[in-house]
Assembly symmetry: C2
Homo-oligomer: 371 residues x 2
């Protein structure tokens, strides 16, 4: 297994941020190795804005530079500080797993049909807060907010979230923008690569606030992404057809190429694997998400991030609310502790690997107490 | 009546964008008049990032420069191109009018209680698409998308929105950022000024997509803002207490200073006034919106824009869906034409004036046909 030469932004003490490529547990400084000004930048955006032809040409040069590198050219990961790799423009979060959407519908709207009538016709999504997307390793402060009344008609309470959860997701980073009203071309011409995402979720705040305009403060305190963005080309061997869709989607949502991805996430709580959500069963594929997000004429910007929503299989959900059946069935960890939602001090890490052994760099965060 | 010396970004043919101040129907070039580098920028963000002490000092110098200016120093508005004044970071839209939220609840969820249980406890809001905020005057392309099935259980149709609407709003622009987890100080220390906003809304797309994660493509095709941002200091004479609130909000939402604003919007359809929504009755005041948006630790960035949601009084709504009772009672215009929602070619302009005669620069847009 190896990493697929993912790109990221790093710094060494006293030096400015710059773009590098990860080679297993080392980093190749691309500004130094290739001499391109575009890699002497504090984010991947200038490189991503160049478009696919430039990405592919760069990848060939990167591969050659890695082959020709000696141990002295590669910086141990432990000697660099990783930074947010992308200057995030707009952040959109989808809801593309049938198992996750069904499970959450049953939990949040008991007694109702779990899926809303639109769910099988379009990839449901919403805009999140771009300004609170943070790089893996950033401590996650437990958010305060309004928690639901204990009985209908009652008053909400205020305080730290008591139901702090994770959402293990795959994120897609847009490189090539579109002009106002211009429809995007092929998926691979616009999407630069993928990140692992943890869309931290305060379930109590979310449950109270989300009608009718959707999640807001229950999500907007933090979204963590991996420091390394794996270019799409490294995922060629993972591409599969998405699952069959019934009813057939409208023409603008029909798939023209296989952009399902056969990879498996691993969710670790304090170092212990607690779930292994499979990505390949995700009902809506990322090319469909991109087509939907822009069908109304909305333009893409370099740095747009759209994420899949929680990746959940029938038995391997990507959130604690599903794993513990809304807290009714606590997890028992190897050390005997139990968890329904996250405790202060807990560390969650999400990794992934494709069917052909390409690893995606993980995303990790540790909960610190509310202030 | 006069404008309150609002700031904007303009250019003249062949020249770069720069910051100016509007003096009635003329523009004073601030980079030239004051010599500050911060005004030779393509957006207000560098100036806004300086904070309130700098804003107030600049305002005194601007007032002096305007007093001392001669006709030759001022450029006629017709000779400049206005640009998007703010590099928008995150865009949040609230839902702060009791009359609007009640009316929309009755229309979208007939037979149910119009207000959700949370509405009087918190300012409901959601994130919109920052990348499609456009300056007044930008043509608005009618969006395509999924329109609701004609009967429950049916299939959606696809095509141009048939129910294209407006939302007349007041927008608040953040100047002074906060660090991660840092709580903002006083409202006036962070908010630089106000803009008029038209949050164009495709009601058919919105009605089908918005459960359970909120509005997405029904809004994300375009949001227009005025080219001129009126600094808060120009609105001192318009400040009033917000309306009484029952139940009393939680402590973090309690008002510590009057940030209701006594101003009246005018909505013009093809030059004809069709509604005059009063802002002073808005249930949630903008200081409460700011406090809510950040109570979970979410940081502010320079350029964050948060808008009030549709400004509607009981008899003067800020949207066509309310004015025409969801299309059941068409408007008859002076030329004999009728409208339920917007036709291609229609121009909507929103103006405003405070009780003490300060005018806010208008926001305007014309509908062009779907592609």
């Amino acid at each position: 297994m190896s990493f697929g030469l993912p790109y990221g932004v790093f710094s060494r003490p006293g030096e400015p941020r710059r773009v590098g490529v990860r080679v297993d547990d080392r980093v190749l400084d691309l500004a130094a190795a290739l001499g391109d000004e575009v890699f002497a930048a504090p984010s991947l955006n200038p490189f991503m804005a160049l478009g696919r032809t430039a990405w592919r040409a760069a990848r060939r040069r990167v591969e050659a530079a890695v082959r020709e590198s000696t141990a002295g050219d590669l910086i141990p990961l432990g000697e660099v500080t990783p930074h947010l790799p992308v200057d995030v423009a707009d952040y959109v979060d989808f809801y593309a797993s049938l198992d996750h959407a069904s499970a959450l519908g049953r939990i949040l709207r008991p007694g109702e049909e779990p899926l809303k009538p639109n769910w099988r016709h379009l990839p449901v999504g919403y805009h999140g807060r771009a300004g609170t997307v943070v790089v893996s390793g950033t401590p996650i402060r437990r958010p305060c907010g309004q928690r639901p009344p204990s009985a209908p008609g009652g008053r909400p309470s205020f305080g730290p979230s008591l139901r702090l959860d994770i959402e293990a997701e795959l994120g897609f980073v847009v490189g090539t923008p579109t002009g106002p009203g211009e429809r995007p071309g092929a998926f691979e011409d616009h999407v630069f690569g993928v990140a692992l995402v943890n869309d931290w979720s305060a379930r109590d705040i979310q449950a109270w606030e989300y009608v009718p305009l959707g999640p807001f403060l229950g999500k907007s305190f933090a979204t963590s992404i991996s420091p390394w963005i794996t270019p799409l080309d490294a995922l060629e061997g993972a591409r599969v057809d998405g699952p069959a869709q019934d009813p057939e989607p409208l023409p603008y949502l029909r798939r023209s190429a296989p952009w399902g991805l056969d990879l498996t996430l691993t969710v670790e709580l304090n170092g212990e694997p607690v779930s292994a959500p499979p990505y390949r069963g995700m009902y809506w594929t990322p090319d469909q998400m991109l087509a939907h997000m822009t069908v109304n004429g909305a333009r893409l910007r370099t740095g747009d991030l759209f994420a899949s929503g929680t990746v959940s299989g029938p038995d391997d959900p990507g959130s604690l609310i599903e794993l513990t059946r809304n807290g009714a069935e606590p997890l028992t960890l190897a050390n005997g502790e139990t968890r329904t939602f996250l405790d202060d001090g807990d560390t969650v890490t999400v990794h992934a690997v494709t069917r052909d052994g390409i690893r995606l760099a993980g995303v990790s965060g540790t909960i610190v107490p509310a202030t």
